[in-house]
Symmetry: C2
Subunit: 102 residues, 2 copies
């Protein structure tokens, strides 16, 4: 099961470190406690919508942009965790299978 | 301030109604209580990551797809709520302003 808070936390940390900023700096800009921000980044705490908006402000990033990054990351994780399926069923022609088996 | 739970709730309701399904039906498919799902759709309750994953299962929609829809909606709301700015400042040449005022 892919959990939003895990992927969101990873993205928030990536954005912060790409800006070359410390947890303390972003916590101050966001008016969020250092401990809270740290837990959100580690994916151990669900960010409330209000505090997520504050964190976006602190990072100078619109919520839509953050969601776009999280969507990309989740899509990637979904690809990695998708069950492997064999190429059988309507997509493959039965005669073709027999022919290549022969 | 744009709150994720409000926009997420609207999108979840849109997806459900587009599928022609009732709250009761999706709650049952998601193994989430009817009251909880209703509160999440109304944007009055933050969905935990676990329950959000269950709701996505119940709707037959990957989390990444849901996030894409939420991102689009938030981006639209950001456009509507963006402060109106006058075209002054570094983007406009001072001489140009004087010229057109003359």
């Amino acid at each position: 099961m892919i959990l939003l808070r895990h992927e969101l936390g990873e993205v928030l940390r990536d954005v912060r470190t790409a800006q070359g900023r410390t947890l303390r700096d972003v916590a101050k800009s966001s008016a969020v406690s250092l401990g809270y921000l740290s837990e959100v980044e580690r994916g151990t705490k669900e960010a409330s919508s209000e505090l997520l908006a504050s964190i976006c402000d602190g990072l100078g990033m619109p919520l839509s942009e953050l969601l776009g990054l999280v969507r990309e990351r989740v899509e990637h994780v979904e690809t990695l965790t998708a069950p492997v399926t064999l190429p059988v069923g309507p997509a493959v022609d039965a005669d073709e299978v027999s022919a290549s088996a022969a």
